[in-house]
Amino acid sequence: MAEPLLRVENLVRRYGGIVATDNLSLDVIPGELHAIIGPNGAGKTTLISQLTGQVMPNSGAIHFAGREVTHLPSYKRSRLGLARSFQITSLLPDFTACDNVALAAQAHDGHSFHFWGAARKEKALRDAAQAALTRVGLEKRADVPVSELSHGEQRELELAVALATRPQLLLLDEPMAGLGVTESQRMVALLKELRREVTIVLVEHDMEAVFALADRITVLVYGRVIASGLPDAIRNNDEVKRAYLGDQHAVTANG
């Protein structure tokens, strides 16, 4: 088995009395699409936030591409090739779609302590932005301010922004949240293309999408991994069923 691109060891995160991440370990192999699922409150977003650096764990370790990144600030992790999309859309509302993506490209194009030349006129950045926008299907909406984009378009833009940073690992936190049927299908098709170029960790509630895309699935309940493996194994796992469907089924199963 290949050396894992991302290795999480015994991650713990507490909030007062609540244990949001409970001794969590998992790894992600390069090239795979690894889905993370779990009922609400399982701590999926908390996990993602610890992986990308918005939240710091209380204990445990995170290794990315061979480096320990456990306490590295998020901007440094981004530079290493770790990109994320946010569950609650987090874009730059005062800027256009193109500006948002161009800034992401700019972040990975040397330093930005240039005070004179107009950034919007930099062809390389504009081209990179257009490329990313075209990828997600937003090329016609490039000059629209983010505040005027539809929710679905904003979710797609989140993805474009993450892509523009040329990541090695893409962490997607519920990219299909709030999307309609057509938009979801488009997103799934897009992810199918993307997985060939970049390793993806996908947090999702949409089970159809998850089982259509995932190479491996990890199931989280109350911050703990209760199962991890191939999709079929997960589908047939009793504990997983219980976690999603409730204890009644466990009771009936056990007589």
Binding site: P73, S90, L103, Q106, E122
Partner: protein, 315 residues
């Protein structure tokens, strides 16, 4: 930058034109007072523009910006007092000390956000005020008279009102141009992005605070220049120029004009200082009117004058 004929652009063009031609009017009408008044206004417009850089574009609400007026002023004053009258030395020192102050205070203050940032910048500016008050050699509370304005050799005579006016205007236009370029540069986009959504900017790979700090320093340096100009204008510098209410005045100018718009601070400075002048000729108690007026403006005129004009432009 393409020019379209809307209310906003027309007003700005007229104002800039008016400022450029003011000395002509003053010479023709014999009204010296308006020349000195507008020299002062232009200097404050430059200070307000520098504050707008961090407030309007950078999202950093600093309540201690007047400190730079004092630093720039005292650099000129102290050097003049000690016998160094050359502007070629005084002004670079003013800029350098302002930059240093901005670096230290910025590094400390930017560890906080929001209200706390406001409070801390306020506190540090007040500290600068107290330090200046304690400099008994340089007049302490009473201030320091500057007997000879900055000397630039044969280049320009600061004691000549018209020349000085155009120097200040040149600095204002130069400052505005610099700010315009900065704001649209890579650096400026990052700073504006950080204001818009810091978490997002960090997530794509920008060290937000580093950019904020540099912006803070640039802004302070420009204001230091305004301070040097101000000291020359009044032939005097005292701690009062750094008193925290002066920082408040600057903030009002920025907000009145319209935060985050390039020419807003100019409009704001003109409006605020002209209003102050008119009201104080009217009554000794002009703040009784100015105070509630500010309150009303905050409640009803969001986006300041430029915002108002912008809404008019859009029809």
């Amino acid at each position: 930058m393409s020019f379209s004929f809307n209310a906003r652009n027309v007003v700005v063009a007229l104002v800039l034109l008016g400022l450029a031609l003011l000395p002509v009017y003053s010479a023709v009408s014999g009204n010296i007072f308006i020349l000195t008044l507008f020299t002062r206004i232009i200097i404050f417009a430059l200070a307000a523009a520098s504050l707008n850089l961090i407030m309007g574009y950078g999202g950093m609400m600093s309540f201690g910006h007047a400190a730079y007026l004092g630093i720039g002023g005292y650099a000129v004053g102290i050097l003049a007092f000690e016998g160094i009258g050359s502007g070629f030395i005084q002004w670079p020192v003013a800029l350098a000390v302002s930059a240093l102050y901005g670096l230290v205070i910025g590094a400390l203050s930017l560890r906080t956000r929001g209200v706390y940032f406001i409070m801390i910048t306020l506190a540090f500016a007040q500290m600068a005020y107290y330090i200046a008050s304690g400099l008994s050699r340089y007049g302490g509370d009473d201030g320091l008279t500057i007997y000879k304005r900055s000397d630039f050799g044969g280049l320009i005579n600061l004691s000549n009102r018209v020349q000085f006016y155009y120097l200040c205007l040149g600095c204002l236009f130069g400052g505005l141009y610099l700010i315009w370029r900065i704001v649209n540069s890579r650096f400026g986009m990052v700073v504006r992005g950080v204001r818009s959504n810091e978490q997002r900017m960090q997530a794509i790979g920008f060290h937000a605070n580093r950019y904020r700090l540099v912006c803070f320093v640039i802004s302070g340096t420009i204001c230091g220049l305004a301070g040097a100009l101000l000291a020359n204008n009044t032939d005097f510098v005292s701690p009062a120029v750094m008193y925290w209410t002066r920082s408040g005045d600057l903030m009002v100018m920025v907000i009145l004009g319209g935060m985050g718009s390039l020419f807003g601070p100019v409009i704001g400075a003109i409006l605020y200082l002209v209003l102050e002048e008119l009201l104080s000729q009217f009554t000794e108690y002009w703040a009784l009117i100015m105070g509630p007026l500010l309150l009303l403006i905050v409640l009803f005129a969001r986006g300041g004058i430029m915002g108002l004009l912008g809404r008019l432009s859009r029809g």
